[in-house]
Amino acid sequence: MTPIIDVSHLKIKKGGHWVHNDLNLTVNRGEILGIVGGSGCGKTTLLRAMIALTKPDSGTISIFNENLFKVSAEKLLAVQCRFGVLFQENALFSSLNLLENISFPLCEHTLLDKQSIERLALLKIVMTGLLPKTAAQYPAELSGGMLRRAGLARALALDPELLFLDEPTAGLDPVTATGFDELLLTLKHSMNLTVVIVTHDLDTLWTITDRVAFLGEGRVLCVDKMSQLVTHPHPLIQVFFSGPRGRRAEDGQKH
């Protein structure tokens, strides 16, 4: 089976030093891949490169077998329509209400009439666990957890095969974060999604990921199941997972 994302020999320079130096990573269809690493190790930079926002200095990134930085604009658009992105700050358009926010990709890339678009947008709102009446509200009127769900609803608007999430549970209370993790699992199973998730949240890593890639020293130090990853001898990985928080999250899994 060919991987859905193939990053090979990626090099990115930022502010005079190499953030990524010969980074290789593959994502298989149907898995939830976590990306972790210390602050400033280039998790978000890698994510931005994967969604074609940052052009790498060298190396290739292929999604659905298309090299993102070589293909024509039309082909790139076709690839972009097949993935959804939830940004760290949700990036909902503040001048549009939720319904319009989620309708936006549908209006741009489908030929449906307005009524169908609105109903599909409403479906995505309800699917992500929000009440229908929030559809008429503006992002400024909603809480952090609701915004996150709305951002997810917009990322899912076009029924993507691939979903990128940047720190989805950051800044949420534990109950909301757990709810969000459960929602992600349900969506992943029913919509047959492949998910790439950048996160610091150890509970998320333990509960929902199939594999986790640990970034450090400009490359991927290890990609494995969480239970295997924590036993990796590399000092950076040991420091990351052996702190009190890491231990607690691990214990929480065993009980």
Partner: protein, 375 residues
Amino acid sequence: MSEQDAVVYLADKRVLVCQNQWNLSNLPNLENLLQNIAWPSTGTVTIDGQQIDAMDSAGAWLFFSIEYTLAARGLTVVLAKLSEAQSAMRTLITPKVIQMTVGDAVPKEWIPSWLTKLGMQTVDGILGLTSYLAFIGMLTAEAIRVLAYPSKWRLREIANIVYRCGYQALPIIAMLSFMIGVVITYQLGLQLRNYGANRYIVDLLGLAVLREFGPLITAIMVAGRTGSAFTAQLGTMKINQEIDALNTMGVTPAELLLLPRIIGLFIALPLLTFWADIFGLLGGMMMSNNMLQVTWHDFLHRFPRVIPLKTLFIGLGKAPLFALVIASVGCFQGMKVKDNTNQIGLNTTRSVVLSIFFIIVIDAVLSILFSKLKL
């Protein structure tokens, strides 16, 4: 694309056969086909989706909503065995989800009528005026409080504002007033030359530039350049919670941010106006020399005899008033920003429009006042 066989109703067997692609791109076709089916009025209908090749959430929603709409008509609906992918979709698009999304479930935003809008705007205007007055009152109280503590006078901040709003604006103000001088002289000179009254350009230009154009052009330029910057800076700080942080550290925003801006502009604008007067006159002198045969020497010789010193002071005297309007409106609009980056843009526009509006209103009121006082 229209596949007629994606939805087929077999009336004799009472079975609805769904097949092919049930996804987003095929949705209009499917909805169309579904609408043209003549449903029986009572009894049982079986929905068979086993032949569906591909189904996404949009297709699944349509598929499961058939069940809901038929049940609502009083029919008994039986779903044939679902495939694995379809049952997975079923866990996501539950009957409850369907119930919340079919029919006219899409909530509408409330759009007020024109009369309601007029009322709302009037109330907003009045409330805006009262909160502006409250803002001015707050500033005055703060100024009096700070006055007692020379350590809080923030001279460095004030100097910074004078530098950014005054010194750095010198080139643009010089160029603009020079060109205004040229334009006025050209237009007036054409008329004066007809009467051979070329030398009266000195009287006209002196009065026009010193009393009106110098202060007005400078104030309008500064409202666009500095007033907008005040609003945008303070608005961004408000959104970033920097203002809240200041408050918790026992430093009021008025003391550190607002008063220095107002005092700084209060100092800078009269100076800028004087600078604009010089260049306006220079522009006029150059044009008189070239077009009206009034030489530099003639101009400077006549100027002090026909233009009294009070003309200069009346012009310069307006500048501090304009400075107060620009700075207070700019700061007020900036501090009014809350919870939404959109508002920074809106309030910046409003700050410039209101400043220029009030500058011209004040200028007109002063003109009437001066004419009554025979100044």
